[in-house]
């Protein structure tokens, strides 16, 4: 169980993570979704105790990361691909980590087998392909058989077989009752892997919802809404059975309700509608949700 509360991180003037709060529950895969530069990696670094937040807190099973007695046996992390010295063999890398965690040599062999790197274990990591490097990173995360697993963009650069392998590994780990948090900027991939979604944009929480809800709602129609008084409109929409996702730029994504119903509800309240745009597919909905939150975009 990971609890993130009011987490804020600034790098100079840039607010990378802004008052972020969410939970990651055990026994399911939680997808951490947001466009590039939205603060996913920074948040995961703070969960792993590598970056220090300006304010807020993260607890793992009720403890701060630095207070864990045997961090490797409680939390396993794949951090932004390749936090690994390229001059060492895969085996030496894992063995040195195992020694840090008081873990046996036979466990090193076991995780190498699990990720399918046994035959290249003595080869230097610098010679590894991107996919092999990702697998080695995952092996490192699993070394201590931890109950909490964080994988930052685990399918980045993987071939279809590697993507499928990672997906089923995540599902298996969650089925064993572990807490699994994986980040991605690919909506479609997350929809197939995760049970629960945490959506962020520009370091802020956009929504926390189940993949089923997200898929169900967005396979129906969803609308982008701007209105004079959103605070007034949201409860009324939700009473009418809509799912609303508030965006940072005072927009609202409304799902599970028709355009007519939205318009009439606003009229009842004397609440001026500035925009009511139809969003069709899941991918479109995600793009719309994060549009105001994309930091870098090709023009």
């Amino acid at each position: 169980m990971i609890k993130v509360r009011g987490l804020t991180k600034r790098f100079g003037d840039v607010v990378a993570v802004d008052d972020l709060s969410f939970d990651v529950a055990p026994g399911q895969v939680t997808g951490f979704l947001g466009p590039n530069g939205s603060g996913k990696s920074t948040t995961m670094s703070m969960i792993m105790g590598l970056n220090h937040p300006n304010s807020g807190s993260v607890t793992i099973s009720g403890k701060k990361y630095k207070d864990l007695r045997w961090p490797m046996r409680e939390v396993g992390g794949l951090l932004e691909a390749r936090a690994i010295h390229p001059g060492r063999s895969a085996y030496a890398h894992l063995w040195s980590l195992a020694q840090y965690g008081g873990i046996t040599k036979s466990r090193v062999d076991e995780v190498l087998e699990l990720v399918g790197l046994t035959s290249v274990a003595k080869r230097r990591v610098g010679k590894f392909s991107l996919g092999m490097g990702q697998r080695l990173g995952i092996a490192g995360a699993l070394l201590g058989d931890p109950a909490v697993i964080l994988l930052d963009e685990p399918v980045n650069g993987l071939d279809p077989e590697g993507i499928r392998w990672t997906r089923s590994l995540c599902r298996d780990l969650a089925a064993e009752g572990r807490t699994v948090l994986i980040s991605s900027h690919l909506m479609a991939e997350m929809a197939r892997t995760a049970d629960q979604l945490v959506l962020i944009g520009k370091g802020r929480l956009i929504a926390e919802l189940s993949v089923d809800d997200f898929v169900a709602c967005s396979s129906k129609q969803s609308f982008k809404v701007r209105a004079a008084n959103l605070d007034l409109l949201i409860p009324a929409l939700e009473d009418a059975g809509a799912l609303t996702l508030r965006e940072p730029n005072s927009c609202l994504t409304v799902m599970n309700l028709s355009a007519e119903a939205i318009g009439e509800l606003a009229l009842e309240q004397q609440n001026a509608l500035y925009e009511l745009t139809d969003l069709s597919s899941l991918e479109d909905a995600f793009m719309e949700l994060t549009e105001g939150a994309v930091e870098y975009r090709a023009s």
Partner: protein, 271 residues
């Protein structure tokens, strides 16, 4: 997944927490699992023995010189650099490759990581330094035997030179590690290390004024030059020098201060 063989049964910290002992094991493995470690040790030995041969062989046909042990151990001036560079890279390469993030995730108290690295660098430096100083002495004694500049451990100061030269090598390695723990970047750490060890000496001597000259005795290079010699001059080019033992304590203090500041900064900063 099976968990039966997960935990080492010889881990005495198993009922407490991951600590220095585990970190030390991990860092020991890391040190020797890079090819550069083996090559550096090989290069160090080759250069120390090679320079000893070249410089002492020339003495066979000459009248006795003042301090033959200095000529025997001339390679240690080079060895210091190799050890310092090893100390720098042992940490700075973790920052340049991102490895440090795996390390600190495994041991969220970076002070313990640095402590373990310091013990490995200091231990390897000391063992290597003593083995090299004594073996080089025997090589030099063999070459100079029966000639005017022959050396013997019973001559005054020789044993002191041999012991302290090994310690000097370890301390210089720790100074390298300490610089890297503050600066992090390999390029910056190495240029600072080289500046302090080499360039500063030249620069200070080129400066006018007694105060600047007076400061030059605090430079590691000048301190080392007294350590590598059995007959210590009290002055070098008109500048007063520390005695070898005081000098050794001064550079040890440099290493301790650098590592303490670096350890504190590693704890404070993002990794």
């Amino acid at each position: 997944m099976t968990t039966t063989l997960l935990i080492r049964d010889d881990v005495t910290e198993s009922n407490s927490r991951a600590g220095l002992r585990c970190a030390l094991r991990g860092e020991w493995t890391k040190f020797w699992s890079l090819r550069s470690a083996g090559w550096s040790v090989f290069a160090l030995a080759l250069v120390t023995y090679g320079l000893c041969y070249l410089s002492t062989n020339a003495l066979r046909s000459q009248a006795r010189i003042d301090d033959p042990i200095m000529r025997v151990l001339v390679g240690f001036n080079f060895g210091q650099f190799v050890m310092g560079v090893l100390g720098v890279l042992f940490l700075s390469s973790e920052y340049s490759t991102g490895q440090i993030r795996s390390t600190v995730a495994a041991m969220p108290r970076p002070g313990i990581v640095l402590g373990a690295k310091a013990i490995v660098v200091g231990g390897v430096g000391l063992a290597l330094g003593e083995v090299l100083s004594f073996s080089t002495y025997f090589l030099g004694r063999f070459i100079l035997a029966g000639h005017a500049s022959q050396i013997s451990i019973s001559q005054p100061g020789i044993l002191r030179v041999l012991i302290e030269s090994g310690i000097d090598l370890a301390i210089v390695g720790l100074i390298g590690l300490g610089i890297a723990s503050i600066v992090r970047s390999s390029a910056a750490s190495l240029s600072i290390f080289t500046s302090v060890m080499l360039v500063l000496t030249v620069v200070l001597f080129a400066m006018p004024g007694v105060i600047v000259h007076d400061m030059s005795r605090y430079l590691p290079a000048n301190i080392s030059s007294t350590i590598f010699a059995s007959t210590t001059p009290s002055q070098l080019q008109g500048t007063p020098l520390f005695s070898p033992l005081i000098g050794l304590l001064i550079i040890a203090l440099y290493a301790v201060v650098l590592l303490a500041v670096g350890g504190w900064m590693m704890t404070r900063r993002d990794t």
